[in-house]
Symmetry: C3
Subunit: 327 residues, 3 copies
Amino acid sequence: MNLFTSVHDVTDIKQLVADALALKANPYAHNTLGKNKTLGLVFMNPSLRTRLSTQKAAMNLGMNVMVMNMDKDGWALETQDGVVMNGNTTEHIREAAAVMGQYCDILGLRSFPKLKDREEDYSEGFFNKFVQFCGVPVISLESATRHPLQSLADLITIVETNPVPIEQRAQGKKPKVVLAWAPHVKPLPQAVPNSFAEWMCKAQELHMIEFVIAQPEGFELADEFTKGAEIVHNLDHAITDADYVYVKNWSSYKEYGQILPYEGNWMMNNEKLGLTNNAKVMHCLPVRRDLELAAEILDGPNSLVIQEAGNRLWSAQAVLKALLENH
Amino acid sequence: MNLFTSVHDVTDIKQLVADALALKANPYAHNTLGKNKTLGLVFMNPSLRTRLSTQKAAMNLGMNVMVMNMDKDGWALETQDGVVMNGNTTEHIREAAAVMGQYCDILGLRSFPKLKDREEDYSEGFFNKFVQFCGVPVISLESATRHPLQSLADLITIVETNPVPIEQRAQGKKPKVVLAWAPHVKPLPQAVPNSFAEWMCKAQELHMIEFVIAQPEGFELADEFTKGAEIVHNLDHAITDADYVYVKNWSSYKEYGQILPYEGNWMMNNEKLGLTNNAKVMHCLPVRRDLELAAEILDGPNSLVIQEAGNRLWSAQAVLKALLENH
Amino acid sequence: MNLFTSVHDVTDIKQLVADALALKANPYAHNTLGKNKTLGLVFMNPSLRTRLSTQKAAMNLGMNVMVMNMDKDGWALETQDGVVMNGNTTEHIREAAAVMGQYCDILGLRSFPKLKDREEDYSEGFFNKFVQFCGVPVISLESATRHPLQSLADLITIVETNPVPIEQRAQGKKPKVVLAWAPHVKPLPQAVPNSFAEWMCKAQELHMIEFVIAQPEGFELADEFTKGAEIVHNLDHAITDADYVYVKNWSSYKEYGQILPYEGNWMMNNEKLGLTNNAKVMHCLPVRRDLELAAEILDGPNSLVIQEAGNRLWSAQAVLKALLENH
């Protein structure tokens, strides 16, 4: 692996999950693999989980880490070619990315969408130019349209908590995973649900799970991410007999970046949990309690959110290990 | 030791001081104790000494360190339970603390008081919830009401510079330490003086020192921190024959967070130094020259402030060593 | 070497360049030299290249690194003596620098000029006080008037790409290096061109190069930096037969900090490149494309800017190595 920006960069996701769980069992087994290698983490936007888990993952492999907050430490980057730079941008991404590649063996980049222009966001122009010009392997720390380290951590969490008994798995029984849209007061990117859907569709193809997306009409994700998923517009129907409910808000893709009106109660709580197969509840965090997800679930026995966040570490470490082994 | 938030978390302060001085003599004697362990430093407020000394202390023990500036890198945390999070807070401390605990073996937290609501500040609600939810040992990097790493460094500095000849110590002679209130233009927390008083009262109990607090009326600290201290409202009387004068401003506890009117000259200078037993002068820094403390003292032979700041390193290293040895 | 603030701190620049190129060939040859040593990087201003390259350089030598953004993490420093600190400054540089020296074996400092008061900027008051009070070796990460880590990287780049055939060198042929003023929309410091000129004048003295400065009238640098340089007011004349063109904007020294009117086209492009001896083009970055320097050059075969930025690493590592070996 030479790049980690989506599920399409991974040859074998089952193996990657297995690698991650092996690292979780034995975190320091490869603690010299990254000797004399430097990971640069470039944040165009704030980060808590991603920053800490990826740093820790790199250190577990013996790498050095340098963190660059470009929104604060640095300066505004120009991304367009053919522009006379006599305005507010002080450096072109061609130079900035190439320079960072001079000092780092692997780079991680976080770059959120602006949610103004769908075509611009979905072209991943900034992210792709960074990859093009930096000259070293790049890990997505969340781009405009995807958050693959999160999705891998989610899959790890599902695999390690799979409630289907071994004998039933042999008979083809798979856990039912529901991505459930939830309310929010701010318009959020589609990156996490896009990416989760993309990974779960792949896992469904590999007969690891069954995948359903529950969302009000108008909140359909872009088709490219949801191939093979069942899409349901009623939360209660969708979560019936679910083994996992993955709660997440997103703004509309169709009416780009908008919060559309919707009907019904879309917040998971204990009453709705009663419809499920005693489902485990997941969320990528940060979560707004009692708006996106009931506090009674977060504080109850069905919540996986902290374990899921913990798995961000093994997700990042497995990806870094794969990149290091390729060089 | 599993927690370091006040003198009450320490079983034997004499031993802890001795450990710190042993580390000062031999900083790298335990440089593999922290191998594969990660310290996370979480700052809700700015820091210079604490940030650098604690990082360096951890590295001396072979630990990895990750720094998180939550006021800048992160987001506003919710601390109340039962709140529908549809406002400005983007994550609850229950999740944020638990997540940080997933990536770190020990966490340090700095969280200043707001100086608006005494009950809220003195409940240490934010700090205690962080400790409760993070699931790993926590070191205070200064909380609303205490700054124990500073106080330990202060005690280390007094022990290593003790001016009482050995033979007089055997006869019960102890250095006289005076905490001396000083003027300032801004209302400052009571955390440093509370904590210093608490540690010095303990040291007095153990016959290590004699302890006096000098302050204008109205600036009494909360009783819980000053048990056993002599409280004097005249600076000149208090510092007569003193061996150490610990200069520090604080705002009123009684008229909470206020700067009260006061009489007399409360700034230590060379003239006042003449009243003392050639006292060493201490201050936790940052210090405002010629407002809190005369420049002539800071630049003169009686100042210990740089040595004291240097001892922050050994204070932190002794505490980290104790926490690591307990796990 | 005990200090690195200008070319005058270096005994033998040829040897220092040779050391840097040896490190470039073998980056980890001295990876235990910095064991248990800590480098503190103090930034009063933003940084990308300097921050990352100096961190990486230190890590290559086995040092620990702590980064301090004083403009964001810290507080406003007082630099004047004899001031009652009852205003906005919260700590005096006497204490702040001394404290940082307690926790670090070597300190790096970046401190830009304000471009308001020439005498103040050129006195390097802030920088020199920091050096005076911190008590440990200091590396300039760019001061008000100089950027020596950049200049050393520039010289390394020229030495490693020297186009003069060996036999012609023996006959005294030297590469012609032109520092070429370029347009900009903002008034920039003279630190980079001052420093480049100072290093190139020294290299010229040592018969390593020939050095010419091209600039519109009124943009003369201070005499102390340009002794021995030929100064030309016409870009085309200056760059004729040049082997290297070092493009850089700066504001006026005479009319301090001003952007003066000028005549002619001062932006290097491919047409002007035709006047040169197929010159390599350099720039310290960040560069504003098609304002300071034509994109066609930056994207073409004559640009050295990324290699030059990459050499910042070896520049910093050679300097750190020299400082470490001296202690």
